[in-house]
């Protein structure tokens, strides 16, 4: 299967690879997927407490090229966004941007899950009630 140039670019030069201090109050960590399924994504955000904006994002991914590209792209998009803006990122935007074929759509779903999971972690750590917003499950 041929990959799009954008997938290849993110795969060869992944953006924002790394680890943030997960014990920090400003950091939210999302770990999704499972080794048995061949995909594990860890996505972290660091939020500027005064402005509420995401000032840094890092990832590490175990998976195929599309999974790595999806998470790399997600970190690029997250930086500089507010939490609400970040929550509105839809997996189909990732599919379009990277021109993922149908068999790889699950990679984009996983990236969206990772974003939501990282935000949820941040909100829980900071006692932010998300119940009324209804955008995060089981808050």
């Amino acid at each position: 299967m041929a990959y799009s140039n954008k997938v290849l670019d993110h795969f060869k030069n992944p953006r924002n690879v790394g680890t943030l201090d997960k014990s920090s109050k400003n950091v939210g960590t999302g770990l999704v997927g499972a080794p048995e399924c061949g995909d594990v994504m860890r996505l972290q955000i660091e939020v500027d407490q005064s402005s509420g904006m995401i000032k840094d994002a890092k990832f590490k991914t175990f998976g195929c090229g599309s999974a790595i590209a999806s998470s790399s792209l997600a970190t690029e998009w997250l930086k500089g966004k507010s939490i609400d803006e970040a929550l509105s990122i839809d997996n189909m935007e990732i599919v379009e941007e990277l021109a993922l074929p149908p068999v790889k759509i699950h990679c984009s779903v996983l990236a969206e899950d990772a974003i939501k999971s990282a935000i949820k972690d941040y909100q829980e750590k900071n006692g932010i009630n998300t119940e009324n917003e209804g955008s995060v499950e089981g808050a």
């Binding site: 299967m1 990959y3 795969f11 992944p14 690879v17 680890t19 770990l31 999704v32 997927g33 499972a34 080794p35 048995e36 399924c37 061949g38 995909d39 594990v40 994504m41 860890r42 590490k60 991914t61 175990f62 998976g63 195929c64 090229g65 999974a67 790595i68 068999v103 699950h106 779903v109 996983l110 899950d113």
Partner: protein, 406 residues
């Protein structure tokens, strides 16, 4: 280093040996005859060429030329052997025994047979990838007509105990069939020596052309018959109709002749390169595991798992230069990893991390050096990116984590 392409996927298909191609060329235009045209020289020349090739192939596996039935490839041969025996011997019984690690051509034929009213036992394999002989013997029943066990596995290269299986089949009066596609032409394969009655193999796995294969069908003690699955002009002694692929068969014959002559030296050279690759990767990298038996396997194959690295992603780090295969099935809709590796008892995670290297006649020492370097770099790159490698390094027990299955 210049842009290059290194082919370490010879179990998928082998390049056609230039000597084979040369032999085939006249049979496209100069000698265009149909081997079944009995009344003019064009037909006679074609028939003679086919007969000669049949002898070359029979000679390689030490059988009678009359016992070779030409087909379009090993998949067709597997279908013909299994379904053909099932139909032909339906009065004797309807039970077939095979193994979980067989090629899809065998497994899917067996499933079809089950739909047609047959009964199939799928034997487990051990950690080494080999069947248990006691389990095989215990599985044989009154109504068992056939045991189908491959000679060498396509993914792991693991070789089954053919002689012992043959003895059990003889003792119980059951036919023994083997898909020997990965073995013929690369290691000595003599079906009569081990008591095989039907055997599938293919030209394109032994440096011959694609689109031509054969089924060996034993003619004496016992005389085995299969019901044709393709009906028509009654070619190949009624077992497989259809105009013979003369250039393909000529190439198949030449490939067999070369294999007979060069097999021993090829195997020795290639196994040294394979061992070098395997040892270097295990020395350069941590947490590398060999899948399948080290002792009972093909000289040209190694199947390795690189822990906490996903196979398809790893392949992407070097697939512009090096061609290999992965047991990860990230491309398939099912997302399930190799059923062969899972049958060996590997966890799904290790199966997703596997790479099959299959070397061949044209693999060079320099290519192996290049592959060692590229793999070492690729695995390191992927581990730098891998959250589970990081956790493993921090001493976190991955089993203790509640993963979100998806």
């Amino acid at each position: 280093m210049n842009k290059r392409h290194i082919y370490l996927d010879n179990n998928a298909t082998t390049p056609c040996d230039p000597r084979v191609v040369e032999t085939m060329v006249p049979y496209f235009y100069e000698h265009p005859g149909n081997a079944a045209s009995r009344n003019h020289p064009f037909g006679w020349v074609a028939e003679e060429a086919v007969d000669y090739a049949r002898e070359q192939i029979a000679n390689l596996i030490e059988v009678d030329p009359k016992e070779i039935i030409f087909t379009s490839g090993a998949t067709e041969s597997d279908n013909l052997a299994l379904k053909g025996v099932f139909e032909m011997y339906s009065r004797k019984g309807n039970h077939i025994i095979t193994a979980k690690t067989e090629h899809k051509a065998v497994l899917d034929s067996c499933q079809k047979i089950e739909k047609m009213g047959g009964e199939v036992t799928y034997l487990d394999v051990d950690r080494e990838g080999r069947i248990n002989l006691k389990e095989l013997e215990a599985a044989i029943k009154e109504n068992t007509i056939l045991v189908s066990i491959m000679w060498a596995n396509n993914e792991t290269g693991v070789i089954q105990p053919m002689k012992e299986i043959g003895e059990i089949c003889r003792k119980h009066g059951v036919l023994f069939m083997s898909d020997a596609t990965q073995a013929v032409g690369k290691i000595p394969v003599k079906p009569k020596e081990v008591g095989i009655h039907l055997m599938s193999f293919s030209a394109h796995k032994m440096y011959g052309p694609k689109g031509v294969g054969a089924l060996f069908v034993n003619r004496k003690g016992p005389r085995v018959k299969v019901t044709a699955q393709i009906d028509g002009g009654g070619h190949e002694r009624g077992m497989r109709s259809g105009t013979l692929n003369v250039p393909g068969i000529v190439g198949f014959g030449k490939a067999a002749e070369i294999a007979k002559k060069e097999m021993a030296q090829d195997a020795e050279r290639v196994s040294k390169l394979r061992d070098k690759l395997e040892k270097a990767l295990m020395a350069n990298l941590e947490e590398v595991y060999l899948n399948g038996s080290k002792e009972h396997r093909m000289p040209n194959v190694t199947n390795l798992s690189f822990k906490h690295v996903e196979g398809e992603g790893l392949m992407m780090t070097f697939n512009q230069e090096i061609a290999v295969s992965s047991g990860s099935a990230c491309t398939s809709a099912s997302l399930e990893p190799s059923y062969v590796l899972v049958a060996l008892g590997l966890g799904d995670d290790l199966a997703h991390s596997s790479i099959r290297f299959s070397l061949g006649r044209f693999t060079t020492d320099e290519e192996i050096d290049f592959a060692i370097e590229a793999l070492t770099k690729g695995v390191s790159h992927m581990r730098d990116l891998s959250p589970i490698w990081e956790m493993y390094k921090e001493g976190i027990d991955l089993e203790s984590i509640e993963w979100s299955e998806h």
